[in-house]
């Protein structure tokens, strides 16, 4: 099994489309890869009681989240034949329409990349101590609940 050190998945602010494009471009030298799968989470302008969500402010128990993410990463590499996996999660205030989660898996054949990507996204949402505060246009807020 490959060794993967604990990586910091958190970045302050939104994940820019150019960052995602650069990340894809960096894989052109890895010619053993035949398939990528990418999940992008975008902040949705939900409407609750006539108020629209204008942003989500993310906070995390970072030390615990990174330890947990490391365990998830190890389990995913154990289960799927992946070439690589990259995960980025935003912290701070992310406006509606901006990207807040970027999961990128690569493998020789599509099945591993697709299944691993899906499983990682589900586990991130269920297991990482991260919280989203939905901020409305009138500056009131509610705490996001994952479906």
């Amino acid at each position: 099994m490959k060794e993967h050190k604990t990586k910091n998945i958190f970045m302050q602010g939104p994940i820019s489309p150019s960052f995602i494009a650069d990340s894809i471009a960096k894989h052109s030298t890895k010619t053993e890869i035949g398939a990528h799968d990418i999940f992008l989470g975008q902040v949705r302008a939900d409407e609750v009681n006539g108020q629209k969500v204008k942003a989500i402010e993310y906070t995390a128990y970072e030390e615990m989240a990174l330890e947990k993410m490391h365990m998830i990463r190890e389990a995913i590499f154990e289960k799927y034949n992946l070439t690589c996996m990259h995960i980025h999660h935003s912290l701070g205030e992310i406006a509606a329409g901006e990207i807040c989660l970027f999961v990128f898996t690569s493998s020789a054949h599509r099945k591993a990349a697709i299944e691993a990507c899906n499983e990682v996204v589900e586990r991130i949402k269920a297991e990482l101590p991260v919280w989203g505060k939905e901020i409305f246009e009138d500056a009131t807020h509610q705490w996001k609940v994952n479906q």
Binding site: G41, Y58, T59, A60, Y61, E63, M64, A65, E67, H89, C100, L101, V121, I124, K125, A126, E127, L128, P129, V130, W131, G132, K133, W143, K144, V145, N146
Partner: protein, 76 residues
């Protein structure tokens, strides 16, 4: 014995703040003290982590242990 400081997140942090220190031997008694100080907690869902491990049964709190109060996760 020194008391353990408690870090809280999300909605729980809005209620208990982040300057809380409680001297208590285990997580059951911690819960009782917290819910007496902050009755709103009784109707909210939250988990307790000791040294970054979520506890599922009553757990001893050793000196210097990191206590965290975690509402339901909503990342991604």
């Amino acid at each position: 014995m020194t008391s353990n400081s408690i870090i809280a997140f999300g909605q729980i942090a809005e209620i208990v703040g982040n300057n809380l220190s409680i001297d208590t031997p285990d997580t059951d008694s911690l819960k009782k003290i917290l819910e007496k100080m902050f009755p709103q907690l009784q109707s909210l869902r939250y988990q307790i982590a000791i040294n970054k491990e979520i506890i599922s049964t009553n757990t001893e709190i050793s000196e210097g242990a990191q206590i965290a109060l975690l509402p339901p996760f909503s990342g991604g």
